[in-house]
Each structure stands twice: as C-alpha cells, then as structure tokens.
C-alpha cells in the first residue's frame, strides 16, 4: 500500500507545452513538498504546503504552480515547459507538527523530459 504516490512516473513532452504532475499521500500528514533533482543529482526543495496553505516557495520560476485541493494531494502544474525543466520531480510529505524538525517521506519520482 503506497504511502506517497505520484503520477505519471515518466513524462516526455515538447517545449512550450503545459503539464501537470499529481501527488497523493495516504499517511494522514499535514505537510507536503515538491523537490527537484537536476542533472547534477542535487535534490532541492521547491514548495511546501501545510494544510493546503503555501509555506515555502523557493526561487522557482512562476511557470511552476503548486495546487493543493486537500491536504492529501499536492499537484504541480508547469506552464510553457523549457528544456531546463527536464529533471526528476519528487513529492514528499511529513506530519507537519509544530517545531519543523521531522522526517519526510518521498514518492517514487516523476521523470520529466522536455524535448
């Protein structure tokens, strides 16, 4: 029974297109995140949502827009895709207790290739 799931697992698309990646967690967590792992293998935080509210928004182009319909879902919409957006995108979740220091659980990743 998957705790954090993402769809699709692979996404190949043309430059300029708009695409979405979906994430769902069944852990009952309050906080969800999106990370990007680039070609140099660095995993970097993009966004964090706590109970459907945006908490962290790192320096990410505004072509990227997270949407949280409920606390179990955090989707990532990307407009006008560029070659540099090619990466692996990981969703994660954590309990979201006050205090901040807690374990995050990751999904399997979505491999995005922009041609």
């Amino acid at each position: 029974d998957t705790a954090v799931s993402q769809t699709p697992k692979y996404l190949v698309t043309q430059m300029g297109n708009d695409k979405s990646i979906k994430c769902e967690q069944n852990l009952g967590h309050d906080t969800m995140y999106w990370y990007k792992q680039d070609s140099k293998k660095f995993l970097k935080i993009m966004f964090s949502y706590n109970n459907k509210e945006l908490i962290i928004n790192e320096t990410v182009p505004n072509r990227f827009s997270p949407k949280s319909p409920d606390k179990a879902h955090l989707n990532l919409h990307i407009n006008s895709l560029e070659l540099g957006d090619s990466a692996v995108y990981f969703c994660a979740s954590s309990q979201g207790l006050a205090g901040g220091a807690e374990t995050q659980y990751f999904g399997p990743g979505t491999r995005l290739l922009v041609l």
Partner: protein, 116 residues
C-alpha cells in the same frame, strides 16, 4: 553554495565490513539531520535521523554520529550487506523560531557499493 556536503561520490566496501559515510554542513542553524537511501528509479527512503541534542542514534545495523562542533555527521553500517548498495543522501533541516515545516537541504549523495 552547498550547505550540506558529501565529499565522496562513491565508496566501495566488502560485504561484512563496516561502511562509513560522511557528511559535513556549514549552516549552524541546522538542528535535525537525516540519512536517506535511494535505489535507481525510486524515491529516497528514510533510514535514520538524529537531532542536535544527541550525538549518537542507533537503529539495528545503522548508527549515525553527530559532531556539532565540527559540523560533521557520519553513518555507520555494520555489517554491510549486498542490499545496502545504493546512493545515500545526507539531509538537514532548521527549525524556524516559530515552528513550522521546513524543506530539507540535501547533500549530493554517496554511491555505496558492497562487494561480495
């Protein structure tokens, strides 16, 4: 500017021996540290963590040591097994003064190879 550094891209260890993976950090605000294990085409899997109030945490074959004065932590795996072959990421987070969720800052990872 890398705030979490794993200076060894790869490490090869014989099965049954001890594997020691190292991690250094520069941000003195970090107070919670985690190790994740990652297989190809999968997401990072949580392995073990330590808060800054401790200097050691043990879970089965895995032990994490924290040296705050040196801003250094290490993961010991003993005995090493073939299934331990994976990429290991060190990660850190800082607690905001008002609490709240924080993104993890990751190192670049160390590819551990366990040889039979």
């Amino acid at each position: 500017d890398q705030q979490v550094k794993q200076n060894s891209p790869s490490l090869s260890v014989q099965e049954g021996r001890i594997s020691i993976l190292n991690c250094d950090y520069t941000n003195s605000m970090f107070d919670y540290f985690l190790w994740y294990k990652k297989y190809p085409a999968e997401g990072p899997t949580f392995l073990i963590s330590i808060s800054s109030i401790k200097d050691k945490n043990e879970d089965g074959r895995f032990t994490v040591f924290l040296n705050k004065s040196a801003k250094h932590l290490s993961l010991h795996i003993v005995p090493s097994q073939p299934g331990d072959s994976a990429v290991y990421f060190c990660a850190a987070s800082a607690v905001y003064s008002g609490g709240g969720a924080d993104g993890l800052t990751f190192g670049k990872g160390t590819h551990l190879i366990i040889q039979p």
